[in-house]
Amino acid sequence: MRVMISAFVAALVIAALAPVVLNQFGWSAAEQTSAESVRLD
């Protein structure tokens, strides 16, 4: 059972670290959103 609990904790640790690591690689969700307004020329 200890292995099971440690795997669950590991899944949460990976989830917490994922956005930090992605940010380090230069990817962030905020950059992917479009601008609030679109100006047409």
Partner: protein, 390 residues
Amino acid sequence: MNYKILGAAVLALAALLVTPVWAQETPTVDRTSTGGAQTLEDILRRQKQLEVNDSFRSENTGNPEEAPPIAAPLGTRGGVSDSESWRAIRYNKIDPSTQVRGPAADVLIQDGGMPWYKLREGPILTYGGLALLGFIALLAVFYFVRGRIRIEGGPAGTTIERFKAVERFGHWLLAGSFIALALTGLITLMGRSFLIPVLGPEAFATLAAGSKWLHNNVAWAFMLGLIMTFVMWVAHNIPDKLDWQWLKAGGGIFTKSHPSAKKFNAGQKIVFWTVMILGVSVSLSGLSLLFPFQMPMFADTFGVINGVLGTSLPTDLAPHEEMQYANIWHSIVAFAMMVAIIAHIYIGTVGMEGAFDAMGNGKVDVEWARQHHDLWVAEVEAKQGKGESS
């Protein structure tokens, strides 16, 4: 002049009387309340996929000739308003340029939103939910008919190591993250229909935001678990002749026999390959959704399918269509996986005595192992006889 107008009116009325069906399909809508813009009735007809005569929009894309002077109010853009420009884009009347830069910036309007939304809120949600509930009900019936599969003659009392710690870690990493993904995915898909009426919009907003965060980020643990279990178990899951014998005996579930099996029987191999194939597919569509517009896959996939099967699936997809296909496919595959995993959870817990120990502490009763994996036990004992570990 008045006679001409009167004549036209009589003709129009006669046409309406003679062709009531036509009149019913495209009714004349009074748009004075919206200043000539579309009305709620227009929107509702379009959502019901009824014909809408939208010439009041498609023909209303601005006329620079009638523009007020540049210094007058509303004259700064040559008399063409934003709404007129957008209508012109909507009906391909102009070829605009935009200052927006970034992924999919060249798509300003895409028509697939409503069909995608209706598919997601309709058949996907309904049939997916019914499949889950139906399968759980089926397993409940099976449990009451067949009962728990017991160890014949009772447990031996001695154990044999079935899975090492690293194998159990990989399994639980995959299983734990999958359950988190399944629950948060269901909240995302069904929350609007089932949770908002219970929790209210404010509480659901918090739950939905948390679900989205967990779903997006725990996906990496799922993919790691998928890779770990594949590497550790693929060699034991290659199909062989023995699997056919096991399947012909129905795994002994109905006959209460015990067909021979190695480390994994045919049923477990089916679960393994189901999880691997669907797991890769749900991961790829999930990555496509995690990195919007960066990983389009469906146009190429449809191209391959068309080449093989001679179908005519669309291969010229807008970036947003790629995302819509990815979202729908992600949901379908996820539901199929959930059904398979519910069966796996059943047989690994309440369905079979002694099965959970294999992943609980890694050691199973020797009698259980002999009844369900006799050839594997013989193999382990032969190795132990030679002084090797299992």
